[in-house]
């Protein structure tokens, strides 16, 4: 028994979890957990503040990586085998439809959650100093999510895949100067063919996921380095200013007092450098509002993980990912629709390819990236930022309306057809 205890001790190397020291060491001494702080603020654990959307998005990404690797075992990225493999996954492979559906629905859910997460961060004003750069990383992660969805769409090599990519890459070719070359580089040819499929496959399974993981790591790291999640500071009880424990940050006017280093004390970096820390300072009162990550934060994360995984599994049991007919370059389905999250873009493109397909999305992305640097208002309190909230709400509503129009109000020939009117497509 002693040997087992010794082995266990050599692995975990921490005090028992019944002690405060053990609870801290669980986080500090574990490579997988040390991205967490040892203690978290109570308000940051409130479901109604974050809706745990960041966690849920990350868990969805983990589902996507896992199911994606499983699907790779049965997929050959060249036509027409790619489509045959889809049929195999649908009818022959054990649990094939289930895995493919999980991958599909998790991808859709991830697009939704990334978007909602962005809305939460905006409405809580969390992109403001010192978190500006993490917002930029977040926008890049949103673009990567859409890029992964787009490249994944071609892989089944069915009609939807083929025409979504034909339309999508042609939108890109409207970009000034380099558009045509970029399209050719992406497709590895002039039309969507086998060269395009292998390139999209490489992007989907290697290039984009690597970038995604890289930026996700930076995103998480920056949360900690920016002082943890933002909090509704105006709701907290005011702290006595003299109680601030900002070590090394003397008043702006006072000369810096130097203290001789003591031999019997170790100093952290924050104690020997001068200047104010970039993150929010913490008062002793606020320190009392913090709880240990173990078990409070970890318990909530585990719940979020289980709800996410079981939710996606449940949906995949009852709804299977669709698969259309084999890609047919000669026959465009009518109406030819992109995946729903690109239907807003397709609606814009139906009015003007250059303005709607290149200029408008480019401006939207630039505006999103510029938000934290353009919005100089330091307050995160909603009543202080009515303009910002109005503008962002308009942005969200316009996007949603465009997607709803593209999804439900467009019929054959992209004509305006309300969903309650049934249209029989004309003979071709």
């Amino acid at each position: 028994m002693n040997l087992i205890r010794e082995i266990w001790q050599s692995i975990v190397r921490r005090d028992p979890l019944s002690t405060d020291k053990g609870k801290s060491e669980l986080v500090f001494l574990n490579v997988w957990l040390h991205i967490h702080p040892a203690k978290v603020k109570k308000e940051n654990l409130r479901f109604r503040y974050t809706f745990y959307l960041g966690f849920i998005t990350f868990f969805l990404f983990m589902i996507l990586v896992t199911t994606g690797i499983a699907l790779m075992c049965y997929y050959r990225p060249f036509p027409p085998q790619a489509y045959q493999d889809m049929k195999d996954l649908q009818f022959v492979v054990f649990m094939g439809p289930f895995l493919r559906s999980m991958h599909r629905w998790a991808a859709h859910a991830m697009v939704v959650c990334v978007f909602l997460h962005m809305c939460r961060v905006f409405y809580s004003g969390s992109y403001k100093k010192p978190r500006q750069f993490n917002w930029v990383i977040g926008v890049l992660l949103l673009l990567l999510t859409l890029g992964l969805s787009f490249t994944g769409y071609l892989l089944p090599w069915d009609q939807l895949a083929y025409w979504a990519i034909t339309v999508g890459t042609n939108i890109g070719s409207y970009a000034p100067l380099v558009g045509g070359q970029v399209r050719e580089l992406l497709l590895g040819g002039h039309t969507v063919g086998e060269a395009a499929l292998i390139r999209f496959y490489v992007l989907h399974v290697a290039v984009l996921p690597s970038l995604m993981i890289l930026l996700t790591v930076v995103h998480f790291w920056r949360i900690r380095k920016d002082g943890g999640l933002s909090r509704p500071t105006w709701r907290l009880k005011p702290s006595r200013p003299e109680a601030l424990v900002t070590i090394g940050a003397p008043p702006e006017t006072a000369p810096l007092k130097t203290v001789p280093a003591s031999k019997d004390k170790t100093y952290g970096l924050m104690e020997v450098v001068t200047g104010k820390p970039i993150f929010e300072t913490i008062t002793p009162e606020e320190e009392e509002d913090a709880v240990f990550s173990y078990p409070y934060a970890f318990f909530r994360e585990a719940i979020a993980l289980m709800v996410t995984v079981t939710g996606i599994m449940a949906i995949s049991l009852f709804f299977h990912a669709p698969l259309e007919a084999l890609a047919n370059p000669a026959k465009t389905p009518n109406p030819a629709k992109a995946p729903w999250y690109f239907l807003g873009l397709q609606e814009l493109v139906s009015h003007s390819a250059l303005l709607g397909g290149v200029v408008a999305p480019a401006l939207m992305v630039l505006a999103l990236l510029a938000i934290p640097y353009f919005d100089r208002n330091p307050s995160r309190r909603p009543s202080d930022r009515k303009w910002a909230i109005w503008l962002f709400t308009i942005f969200v509503v316009v996007n949603l309306v465009l997607i709803v129009i593209g999804t439900f109000f467009r019929g054959p020939g992209w004509a305006f057809v309300p969903p309650w009117v049934h249209v029989v497509a004309g003979a071709e």
């Binding site: 025409w163 034909t166 339309v167 042609n170 939108i171 050719e184 580089l185 590895g188 040819g189 002039h190 039309t191 063919g193 086998e194 060269a195 370059p329 000669a330 026959k331 465009t332 389905p333 009518n334 109406p335 030819a336 397709q346 493109v349 139906s350 009015h351 003007s352 390819a353 250059l354 397909g357 054959p412 020939g413 992209w414 004509a415 004309g426 071709e428």
Partner: protein, 151 residues
């Protein structure tokens, strides 16, 4: 080595390093441009003139072209690729126009844009007669919409 030499060699070194990186990046981009395209040829034979009826155009699915044959004017070949975003248009005999299913562009019988987001008219391709009496289409040669081959 004196200070001047140090900076001269240093600058030369940085320039060499920079050019090396630039050349490497260029090579990476060039690597991604295929040297061989395994795609259908742009010039191809479509068959004997007698294979094509008068009246409604014949749609060749693999080549994505419409072959028009008119009793008085002769042969003309139109592209079936919408100039907007590359969907395949359909020719409707009922109104004698091309309709694109993707974003609703409509083209007149001569290929001109009548409606919708398409920025320019459908392409017409050169069609010629080969020595063995077959029709040959060259998709690289775009011709005016009134181009006709009399047989």
């Amino acid at each position: 080595m004196n200070r001047r030499d140090f900076f001269s060699w240093g600058t030369a070194g940085m320039v060499a390093l920079g050019s090396g990186v630039a050349v490497s990046l260029g090579a990476v981009v060039r690597f991604l441009v295929p040297s061989v395209f395994y795609e259908p040829p742009q010039t191809f034979k479509i068959g004997n003139p007698a294979d094509f009826p008068f009246g409604p155009p014949t749609f060749l699915a693999d080549e994505k072209i419409f072959v028009f044959r008119d009793r008085e004017k002769g042969f003309a070949v139109a592209s079936a690729v919408c100039t907007h975003l590359g969907c395949t248009v359909g020719y409707f005999q009922s109104d004698q126009r091309f309709h694109c299913p993707c974003h609703g562009s409509v083209f007149a019988a001569n290929g001109a844009v009548q409606h919708g987001p398409a920025p320019k008219a459908l392409n017409w391709f050169e069609v010629t007669m080969t020595r063995d009496g077959q029709l040959r289409v060259d998709k690289d040669k775009v011709v005016p919409s009134n181009y006709r081959l009399m047989v």
